[in-house]
Subunit: 183 residues, 2 copies
DNA sequence: TGGGTCATGTAACCTGTTACATGATTAG
DNA sequence: CTAATCATGTAACAGGTTACATGACCCA
């Protein structure tokens, strides 16, 4: 139940429609939390039912109406409770199909595995570019937010992303070297 | 759809019951893929229906019967197809509630955040111990498997685990330092 | 005598994914 | 003229989580 809290966190910065939230989410939290647009709409409906949010319909001419969501006091409380709570050991684990494939790779040739690893490195590198973009978006947006302490936290999560992707690349290179030595 | 393939991979080493698979899974793949016991049973039932597995009931006196699963030729094919396929960009991302909390931590005090980070470091350290245990289990088991190439791949995934946890610790320490400097 | 392990699951629920629908406006 | 963008979603399904059930054995 963290997507809801992520959305609360974003709405705490300011009112937004589902559409805007979807874009804000994908521009900021997407590296460490992924969500489908349809899922965001579903959660918003549920959150309004829970009274964490209220909404206001704003008619537009030509375009469909905007449904602007606003965090309620109850929602702000919930956000703070969540921020202060300590969960969870799950966070140490990683869900990584690629590692599972590597685990079983004795079933295929080393050459094939080396190819996959090289492919993987390329993907990591293009993700590093995407991270750099996310970072600059965040930095830019940070200028407009009053509480400058946000910047420190946003930068810290971005740093995690960079270090993580660099780790992946380094790990894949080391694995390739090992495979080349034994074959 | 990767839990099924993980189970196929394990059954490719030898026949096992659901119970044994659950333990084998948790002793080896658990770091990069997590699964509930009940989920494993559900997937096994589905996989037998798909003809990826066959099963044999072995009566025991006193204890409940053992239901021993065996990978079929169809299952072995499926495993190889999966191992040779290239998915997926999802693998670059991370799902980490903790990072989402850090992102929004300007809402709580720096002291509270520093506390959470210290707590987090402790968790990482105890997970490092668990990883060391997993690694030695795998190494031991590796002695009994014919194809020694398995060892290389298993070691590589374990290395990823160690590097990752060390990265988490290092990142948390750096973040604490930054927070201490500004407060 | 009470708790842990062996071994099998079921049921209900929550979360995430994929595919589709609508219909006007604007940019290339 | 075509594709993308704006803005809202629904439906069906797949995958993951939590809680519970059974019953005998073994160990302290």
């Amino acid at each position: 139940m963290s997507l809801k809290h992520g959305l609360l966190g974003l709405l705490n910065y300011g009112d937004m429609t589902g559409y805007e939230l979807d874009k804000a989410f994908k521009a900021s939290l997407n590296f460490f939390w992924q969500a489908q647009t349809s899922q965001i709409y579903r959660e918003l409906t549920a959150m309004e039912k829970q009274k964490w949010l209220s909404s206001e319909i704003i008619p537009q001419q030509g375009k469909p109406n905007r449904k602007l969501y606003k965090i309620t006091e109850l929602g702000q409380n919930e956000l703070k409770i969540w921020l202060s709570s300590t969960d969870s050991q799950d966070d140490l684990k990683v869900k990584k199909v690629f590692l599972m494939k590597i685990f079983f790779s004795a079933e295929v040739s080393s050459l094939e595995t080396i190819e996959s690893l090289k492919q993987y490195i390329k993907q990591c590198q293009s993700d590093l570019d995407a991270m750099a973009l996310t970072e600059s978006t965040i930095t830019e947006y940070g200028q407009t937010v009053e509480d400058k302490r946000n910047m420190v936290y946003w930068a810290s999560t971005a740093n995690f992303g960079f270090s993580y992707l660099n780790l992946c690349i380094h790990w894949a290179q080391t694995t390739i070297k090992t495979l080349e030595e034994i074959s």
